[in-house]
């Protein structure tokens, strides 16, 4: 799987590159700013670009802007945004642009849990979604939504993992349940929230996020 990295801090860029190589990914370019990212992606046409939100020269949200631009100029390249902080505003912008999936937004902290991170990288590169648990908890934590109160604690856990973009198998693994049990919970949630059932994991994320007011 071919990957381009855009991260301005050399320490993190090299560490991430090594981590990905060790896990069998092919890092075809590692760059330090948004312009170089766009050039590298248009030249290499990789499967995935991992982009830091904050890049030179103004250290604001250049990375996100470049990523949004790439979604239209190079739609076959999936985009995984990594950042020191998460805001649901950015997640909303990213998902609104994503269309058919292949986007992710994670805290850099998640890289430490290497297996999970590698899983998220694979998921996004193959057209899925990966949304940081912190974004999801921001959205779930908003007050004033009656139907959410009707969910059981287990269903809330399943809902959060669903919003993160995980598949039923992934949810079953994380919660130590059988896939069948997860499917039952999912059906229960969709019924209680009156959401239309959807086939792909990405569509499911969009439906859940739209419900939570984040998509």
């Amino acid at each position: 799987m071919r990957i381009v990295i855009a991260e301005d801090l050399a320490l993190l860029r090299d560490g991430l590159e090594r981590l990905l190589r060790d896990n069998g990914f092919d890092v075809v370019a590692a760059v330090g700013d948004a312009d170089a990212l766009v050039h590298a992606v248009l030249r290499e046409r990789p499967d995935l670009a991992i982009v830091d939100i904050r890049l030179p020269p103004s250290f604001r949200d250049e990375g996100l802007r470049a990523a949004l631009e790439l979604r239209t100029t190079a739609p076959e390249t999936a985009v995984l945004i990594v950042s020191q902080y998460v805001e649901h505003t950015y997640a909303t912008e990213l998902l609104a642009q994503a269309g058919g999936g292949g986007v992710g937004y994670l805290l850099k902290d998640r890289i430490m849990d290497v297996d999970d991170f590698v899983d998220a990288v694979r998921r996004v590169a193959s057209g899925g979604t990966a949304l940081d648990p912190e974004v999801v908890s921001q959205l779930l934590g908003r007050g004033g939504r009656e139907p959410l109160a009707g969910l059981t604690p287990r269903e809330r856990e399943v809902l959060a993992l669903m919003a993160e973009g995980r598949s039923n198998a992934g949810i079953a693994e994380a919660l130590v349940l059988t896939v069948g049990a997860v499917e039952k919970h999912v059906a229960g949630i969709f019924q209680k929230l009156r959401l239309p059932p959807s086939e792909s994991d990405h569509r499911r994320v969009l439906a859940v996020l739209a419900y939570l007011g984040g998509g």
Binding site: D61, E87, Y90, D109, Q138, R142
Partner: protein, 607 residues
């Protein structure tokens, strides 16, 4: 708002309002004519079909007079009532019925009735009060030449003249204090009785095309009527050329109309000539009037050139108007000389008066140069003006310096407190965690060969420690400056704040453009601190944050439904107050026992 009524003397709005009040005289006279004609002709013809055209004409006349007055209200009072002149309806009788059923028609008549009764009375009363007061104020100068008496008491010495002087000051104060309420009353009446809002949507271009058509129609009608009159004159023996008396007013009205239309429709021409619209219209109309009077002089005796007098008076009005309009433009130049716009207007008006008096002197006897005395007087008055202004300026400056010293000291103190807090958080939090992490890693290294299972446990512990340290650093960084605030502005930052709050928080931000970064940051931290306080101390369940613009500034208001009783001098609120005051804003906290608590900050944002 100043409580000093004399401050109204230097406000253009005062003169605009007075002008509107005075306009009640001509408008009232016009309205009287129209109403009498309509009310007589209408009932008289009520049994004939002729009543419909008369009614329609009456409707239009009432509408046009009302519209004229609405135009005055727009220019002078700043309200913009849209007046309809047409009641609609279909067919001959239908249109007549529509007029009678049109509430706008009756409201316009009511307004005109008020304007010619109440309006006339206020105009006369207010202007007489001002005139009388000014006369009494000038009495110490004028008593030699006038013979004023109150009852049997003659004002014929300087001492007695000074007795009435304070009465004059008081009268002037009352008259000036009345100007604003009267202006508001008439603005309200005009809006309430004249405004027909549905047509507000009519777009400007259509209005302009309509005005141009109106001008062409006016010119056509005037030319046709003039031709008819001349034809009648020619047909009746062509003696004395009496049509000149018809043609002159035609020319005057058409010229005035054309000038107003030109000025209104061609703002570029005015901009190139660096003229403002109102003085240009004023000057043009004055010139047209002088032209018409000169015409009258030319077709009559052609003896003594009397139009010079109205020309002089009108010229004085135009000069004063121009001075009032031009002085604010010269503000920078005046300020370099240490003078204010008010002084510029004052001096300019005196200069115009002096020129006027000199011309009057030149046109009359040319004996003793009496305008010299007026010049002397005005120089004294202007000198006093400068002295008073300098004094007031110095005092204002001293007060400002005092405020700035306090707020700067507060801001520095606040910054130091903030730095100490950050240092403490770093020291107790992330730094301590990294030390512990280093220890875990060291021990893991030691155990690596002998106890691989123990080493793995230590490494897992270390990873948890890193995650916690990162979380703490992130919170700290957000507390110093939330990145989303600079990236996406106040709305997104407050949304994010609301998401993280344990309370049910609503955010309502109404801003047309982003304020300056320091204002945004202050607004954000006011909301953040108030929200944190609400969560910590108030026992509230719901909080609402609203941000909006008011009076050239930005306001932030945070209200919770908690138990109230917050201490405005508490450290968090005091810190906020210093932050807000450093930006020249102010912070108010109302928190009665039992709630609710409202924290409100007003932040000026100069552009």
């Amino acid at each position: 708002m100043s409580l000093n009524p004399y401050a109204n003397l230097v406000r253009a709005r005062t003169y605009r309002t007075l002008l509107f009040l005075a306009a009640a005289v001509p408008v009232g006279a016009l309205a009287l004519g129209v109403l009498i004609a309509g009310w007589t002709a209408g009932p008289l013809l009520a049994i004939t079909p002729l009543v419909v055209p008369v009614l329609l004409a009456f409707r239009m006349a009432v509408g046009l007079v009302a519209r004229t007055d609405a135009g005055l209200a727009r220019g002078l009072l700043g309200v913009d009532p849209r007046v309809s002149v047409n009641s609609g309806g279909r067919g001959f009788w239908g249109r007549g019925k529509a007029v009678l059923a049109d509430p706008a028609f009756w409201k316009q008549q009511a307004y005109l009735l008020l304007r010619m009764t109440l309006g006339f009375a206020t105009a006369v009363g207010e202007l007489a009060l001002i005139g009388g007061s000014v006369f009494w104020i000038l009495e110490p100068i004028l008593y030699r030449w006038t013979d004023q008496n109150i009852g049997s008491w003659h004002i014929d010495t300087l001492g007695r003249a000074f007795v009435v002087f304070p009465g004059g000051l008081l009268g002037l104060a009352v008259a000036l204090a009345l100007v604003r309420p009267l202006g508001r009353l008439w603005a309200w009446l005009a809006e309430a009785l004249l405004d027909e809002t549905p047509s507000r949507a009519a777009d400007a271009r259509r209005a302009q095309a309509g005005r141009r058509r109106a001008l062409i129609a006016h010119a056509g009608v005037a030319a046709a009527a003039g031709a008819v009159v001349v034809a009648v004159w020619a047909a009746t023996g062509a003696g004395y050329f009496w049509p000149e008396w018809v043609l002159l007013p035609f020319a005057l009205t058409l010229g005035s109309h054309a000038w107003v239309e030109l000025v209104a429709a061609q703002p570029n021409v005015l901009a190139r000539l660096r003229l403002s619209r109102a003085p240009a219209i004023h000057a043009g109309l004055s010139a047209a009037l002088v032209g018409a009077l000169t015409g009258v002089w030319a077709v009559t005796s052609r003896g003594y050139f009397w139009p010079e007098w109205p020309a002089l008076v009108l010229g004085l009005g135009v000069a004063a108007h121009a001075v009032i309009r031009l002085a604010p433009r010269a503000e920078a130049r005046l300020r370099r000389l240490g003078l204010s716009v008010a002084f510029g207007i004052h001096a300019g008006v005196w200069a115009s008066i002096f020129v006027f008096e000199t011309l009057v002197w030149a046109l009359t006897s040319r004996g003793h140069f009496w305008p010299g005395w007026a010049l002397l007087g005005s120089v004294v008055v202007l000198a006093i003006h400068v002295l008073v202004e300098r004094g007031a300026g110095r005092e204002r400056l001293a007060r400002r310096v005092e405020t700035l010293e306090t707020s700067r000291a507060g801001a520095v103190e606040e910054q130091d407190a903030e730095r100490r807090r950050i240092e403490r958080d770093l020291h107790d939090g992330a730094q301590a965690r990294l030390v512990a992490l280093g220890m875990s890693l060291g021990m893991a290294e030691q155990k690596f060969r002998t106890d691989p299972e123990g080493a793995r446990r230590l490494l897992a512990e270390a990873r948890t420690g890193v995650a916690e340290a990162l979380g703490e650093l992130r919170d700290l960084a957000r507390g110093v400056y939330p990145p989303v605030l600079s990236d996406r502005g106040l709305g997104a930052a407050l949304d994010s704040l609301a998401d993280r709050s344990p309370l049910e928080t609503t955010v309502d931000v109404e801003l047309d453009e982003r304020p300056a970064p320091q204002v945004e940051a202050a607004a954000y931290f006011v909301a953040a601190e108030a929200l944190a306080n609400a969560a910590k101390h108030s026992g509230a369940r719901r909080v609402s944050i609203s941000v909006g613009r008011a009076a050239g500034g930005l306001t932030v208001e945070v209200t919770d439904d908690g138990r109230g009783g917050a201490d405005p001098a508490g450290s968090g609120l005091a810190g906020l107050r210093r932050r807000v005051e450093a930006l020249d804003g102010n912070l108010s906290v109302t928190s009665p026992p039992g709630g609710p608590t409202t924290v409100r900050a007003e932040l000026p944002c100069e552009s």
